[in-house]
Amino acid sequence: MLWPRRVWLKLQSLFRHDRNAQRLDDEIQFHLDLQIAENRRAGMNPDEARFAAMRTFGNPTFLKEETRDTWGWTWLEQVGQDFRYALRSLRKSPGFTVVAVLTLALGIGGNSAVFSVLNRDLLRPLPYPDADRLVFFGWLIPSFDSRPFLFTSSYLQLGSGNTAFESITSWRPGVAGCDLTEEHPSRLACVRAESSFLATFGVRPVLGTNFSTEEDGPHAPQVCLISYALWKSRFGGSAGALGQTLSLDGQPTRVLGVLPENFEWPTLARVDVILPEAISAAERTNPIAGVLRAYARLKPGVTLAQARAQLAPALENWREASPPMFRKEMRLGLVSVREDQVGSIQLALLVLFGASLAFLVLAAANVASLFLARGAAREHELAVRAALGASRSRLIVLQLTETTLLGLLGGIVGAGIAFGLLRMFVALAPAGIPRIEQAGFDTSVLFFVLGASLLSGLICGLLPVLTPQPVRARLASTSLSPRRARLGAALVAAQVAVAMVLVIGAGLFLATLRNIETIPLGMDTNNLVTAEITLGRAFGQPQSSAEFFDRLETGLRNLPGVTAVAVSDSLPPTGRGHVHQFFDIRVEGRPPFPKGTGGLVGWRIVTPRYFEILGIPILEGRGFVPSDQDEHATAIVVSKKLADRLISGERAVGQHLQLSVPSGPWYTVVGVAGDVAYLNESGRAGRGDPEYYIARKNRSALGTTSEEVDRHAFFLVRSPMKAAAVGQLVRREIASLDPTLPAEISTLTARVDLLRVEPRFNAALISLFAAMGFLLAMIGLYGVLAFFVSSRTKEIGVRMALGAEPERVLGMIVWHGVWLMLTGFVVGAGIAFAVAHFLRGLLYGVSPLNPAIASTAALLLLLAGLGACYIPARRATLVDPMVALRHE
């Protein structure tokens, strides 16, 4: 084994460098002495003997250097030298250094922040073994549900015959709030999943067991699995938790097992409790009763395409069996769990990452152009070095050392910027971006910062060098080479283009935000406290829960400062309440609507003061009166939209409606209410279904939903007092009636505001990037123009000496700058349009091609650009002609 010894020798020569050099001197001196002695013995005189010895030996200094080269550490010495030199030269021009470091820091920082978000979301491993084999599948019927689903009966048919799947599992869509009704009431997130769920995802409980197929049956006593966090908080992490009973919505539920700490629900929703799915007999047989989300684990080696092909025949069978209104748009949805998780944000994040990467390159190119601007003085020095025998590669290395140093400094500052940005992302991020709170600095992010620093150092070092010119020839010249001029011009154009894209983008997103914030809601959300309450099953009879809500309503109305109270089963602008098919409604004296037409109709169950408290105008007739709150009342209030659709051309009030053809009871329209906006979860106005209202306690209309309506209610409390104080009073009032009842108390304004988080995040993010791009473009423009001016100093001097007006010179330089920017405007506007078109799904109420925004952006950039031109131009006019002419 030679290499350990060789490494040892190498290290020795590194750490004993000075001693070894001394010994080499001794060794050579010894040699020369022996040779001289021999020459003397041959009869030469002392001087002759020494010269002859030197001749046969050769140039000792050169030979020593060559010998030292064999020790292999010369490059390190050179790096050290270059490094010290680079430090000195950066310290000598602090202004340049600060601008360059800040420019790079902006690029690196922005990039690293985006990378750390990407890193957590798109690149992280999922916490399931062989997660790439897990898929989410079902029918996709966009008008019915935005995500794939299966009817229970078709899911059950799927079970045996499929050869692509190793196992399949399902859960009931929706993470429902369920109430832990104990001495410390709290609201938990509960899901209902099949017994095969954990096995399919390859997860084992850390404590206890999963529930069995029998326990998953419809009549089994209720059992559950609890999350690690709930185990810690409710049971203090004790093994005694197993077999204990939790009271969930008033129903005793035995704890069977504890989920692992890193367990994640595949939709990334928070889940505290997993209950058995308990498919009922009716769901098994009725083809369209019960909806499930289905997941499967593919057999090893089976691709997504194969799995889709496997499911295709089944889909055709289902299509035959499914209700006619779904048949046409039904298709198969099958994606990997990862894609399902990140799919929606993947595009946005990748676009963001692409933008920020382009950004980094521009920042580096900018610093390169600053280097060019500083060129004149440096070139002289480089030429001298070249003339003294430095090789071209040596000069490049020297320059690279300097730019790498800049890159690393930029990286350090950039890491700070990234950290700040990340904190801001997390603070602003909408709940829809999964796990963003976990985005943070880890080793891979640090490596990314380092990589970005080195990359940017490399770019700014190599760009100026890539203009190969014999340095020697330019010893006496500072004139502008056309090649460099073109490079500079291209740089400015590119930056102006990027800044244009970003500023236009910011304009579009800000317009979107403004449009979203000014959507007319059709109601007054101010000064309203909301309380959402779900009664446990322990309340039993509908009578007793109705009584409870009545008592609560009276109690709330009597609170100090409360002016009005209303109760509803859903709240605009998000909750759609209940929906059914439009064609199920019939107007007396008119033919029924053709089946399958008209879309959906929403309905809500409200108390008489609902319209007044929300400020929804009654356009015709009247609202509800207390006598409508009766089991046999027939009053109905329709929204304007519904009135127009049902009874066009006639007065709506007084018409008779049958809500479920052919057998339902008949209602009489007593009033028409103003339309209320419907907003989706990202704050945009949805299509907005027509609606009608039924008075609370008019149980005849409830049908199958009665149990839910009996047990669940929103209380709306209007008071001019501070919302927090009113909220406290409301909470105390609820507790005085039932201390174990959890209630979610908020304000209507806050509920609406929640929908605007995402557009705000988008607008803030892109505005930030726009501001940074703006800054970058200005630095770039300034750098390039300063370079042009300094290289034209002589020409300007001549012009001035010949009597040119300073204004003319000023104009010439500024015009040149504007000319450089023009290309950028055009290209930038084009790219901005393409990008905005691509992202138009994120915009609202503003067209991607918006001339007002584009021209404002151009104007803004132009003004700032003029400023950036003005400084070098002004400096040019102040040049003393005599100095300029001597400027060689």
């Binding site: 060789r6 001794d26 010894f30 040699h31 040779q35 050169f62 060559e66 080269d69 064999t70």
Partner: protein, 109 residues
Amino acid sequence: MAKPTDLVQGTLELLILKTLSLEPKHGWAIAKRIQQISGEVLQLQQGSLYRALHRLEQKAWIKARWKETEAGRQAKFYSLTDAGRAQLEKEAENWSRLSEAINLVVETT
């Protein structure tokens, strides 16, 4: 100053290894020995010897020790290591193959 070509360099290393195979020597003695044995045909520039010596030392084919000479001066004596001896055999064999081949070519044409 022209750098020695690879052939010459490699050859010099072979000569050094061969010279050291009998007994440890210092640099000057190695140079003298090569000149003597080659019948003064190989006139090497003595200085370039040291570059070769240091490279061989870095490769761990020879090792060096500072010792007193008979005249009582400190000198650096080089000697072969085991790896060096193996290397010498390999290179000597290479060399004889090469020179035979060259002879063959030169004599037949």
